[in-house]
Symmetry: C2
Subunit: 399 residues, 2 copies
Amino acid sequence: MKIAILGYGTIGSGVFEIFESNAANIKKKAGDGIDVKYVLDLRDFPGEAVEKRLVHDFRVIAEDPEIACVVETMGGVEPAYSFVKELLLRGKSVCTSNKELVAKHGAELLEIARQKKENFFFEASVGGAIPVIRPINESFAADEIEEICGIVNGTTNYILTKMFEDGEDFATALAEAQEKGYAERNPAADVEGHDACRKIAILASLACGAHVNYEKIYTEGITKLTTVDLGYARKLGKSIKLIAQMRREGEAVFATVSPMLVGNDSPLFAVNGVFNGILVKGRYSGQIMFYGRGAGKLPTAAAVAADVVECARNVGKNEPVFWSGKEQQLADRMEEVNEFFVRVSVADEDRVREAFDKITEVSPAEGEFAFTVRNVSERDFIEKMKGIRIINRIRILNV
Amino acid sequence: MKIAILGYGTIGSGVFEIFESNAANIKKKAGDGIDVKYVLDLRDFPGEAVEKRLVHDFRVIAEDPEIACVVETMGGVEPAYSFVKELLLRGKSVCTSNKELVAKHGAELLEIARQKKENFFFEASVGGAIPVIRPINESFAADEIEEICGIVNGTTNYILTKMFEDGEDFATALAEAQEKGYAERNPAADVEGHDACRKIAILASLACGAHVNYEKIYTEGITKLTTVDLGYARKLGKSIKLIAQMRREGEAVFATVSPMLVGNDSPLFAVNGVFNGILVKGRYSGQIMFYGRGAGKLPTAAAVAADVVECARNVGKNEPVFWSGKEQQLADRMEEVNEFFVRVSVADEDRVREAFDKITEVSPAEGEFAFTVRNVSERDFIEKMKGIRIINRIRILNV
């Protein structure tokens, strides 16, 4: 099988490397040798192994009938979307690591693949090397997914781990992450939760079989967390993680991204540094967690390459993926019931006690009154805290 | 699609329950309704939903051309093996949760399935609800698996968790596990490591693409562990787990089952109670862990039912599973290099110091001398400890 790679960046060059260095093994698994015929990039790479496969014009790839499968690792919505759509319409399968593309256009691209009896695979778009898309689609095929709850962004998890373990403040931990190449120079997509938001939109769409619009997912980042918050977490025997969550309650589907306190009895507690952990709860299967490197050149590339092998095994046969174009309505998040940890000024203690029937006091930092309160909807929380200045409030995960 | 279930025990009745209670969802995922036409059991279940599907004669199922797929949940090698083989030869797919059957005859049954363009699936045979067989086969298709390291037996993990957390001795923890239904009245298969041995044989066969004979895997159970050992573990910041392991070193493949000390920085450390955790290390993917309920009626049944859905999606198409009948040679375990934790009498301290160049002392229990020693082969360890009475020695996991 002849394939092409769009984009010779970190992931694309990793995919190229794997097909070069593990060719014999892959041939056995795919039932056919997989040959990278073209790599699309604007740059030249003189002297490198990729040099002879480089093309600068997408049309060479699109119009070559020999190309059966294309890897898209350019990132971003355009031109990736136009390219991928054309390739699928021309009867080529596509494997991508591009979460922006999948979150926005996944349903449409899957539908085209279905019609053309080709495949559109995107295992690497969530959790890097961690198998999670295919397990949700296949291993939970006889189950109903009630909840997905994950640490899906390695950058923020690295920062939060540093803040938790070494007592660093947000700015220091971020700078360190940038220095190590774990965070971009413009870190907004990670630290504001946008990356996690796209990933949970993808997982929730697969769990619901309908399109979850990422723009409608309530998203809170980690920029407001301080060392004092992490200190409280330690006192409570918990850690703070950026949690991307989808849960069903009857017919209602809630989806949110926000920093949450995670207890040391949760399997997510020990997911540290750049690692990701994704907990999927099935009605029959119970809790299953998938854990591993959520990013990085070779781990992510290995997931893309496995998708290509799956394409080779299924030439002319569409593997069904359940994600229709119908929009999945999300429930009003004001109805979502949570447990909260709250910090207010010591002066507000009485007003807090008046507002809530039952709170649990937490040993406070100086000048503060701190408590947790259970079974409160977002709406009630806002209502009851009206007029009380909140220093910070963090939701508590009970998974 | 019409299916049959062989054996209406815990798992078989769970599979029946899932196909009854989740029919609409399953139909969507499978592309076809899945109808349980027969259930084979020696017993009658008067008044129960299953009553009308019950048959007592295997031939009814084998000879019904309408049956496209059969679930085998009888357990044990015979008559399961004869039944499954005949069904595959007759062109029916088979899904099983039977680890004894798969460990012993997996290669042969897969080969028949391949020839008949049917499928032989066994996701539930290892790790219950945890997807691990299919991820190894598909998600690591472009990778090379260097190591598998798992807690794959819930009974022993429950016992060890009780011993570690509550300071119970082995007999008390076992009795409690039996009372809760986590351990059989005859617990040998679990506590002597035989169950874990079959499971790692299955995983290792898939990782190597060749048959790993479970009878050749060195297997040590947990019956010799005492509260004193667990006390040492706590002091070392570690826990003790029954670890089923396969690892490659160059061309050599080692496979063992033994209790090991697991550090609190390992993702396996927090796998407690009846949960299972399986760590798979790929050359490109790095460490991936799969975690969840390794047993139980509905979790295991959900995995079997997902296999049935996969059969329905692949009628007349064999999904390749890489496990040939060629025997994978295991390396001489005397060559395996480990780190050991060792307890001897205080009287033997000098002899120990003489025997090893470098040991690390561990604060000892009364009358004992305790130490750890690195980079020692099994052969050297036995050699050097000749003439020294070992109170206990436990290998240390560095994963």
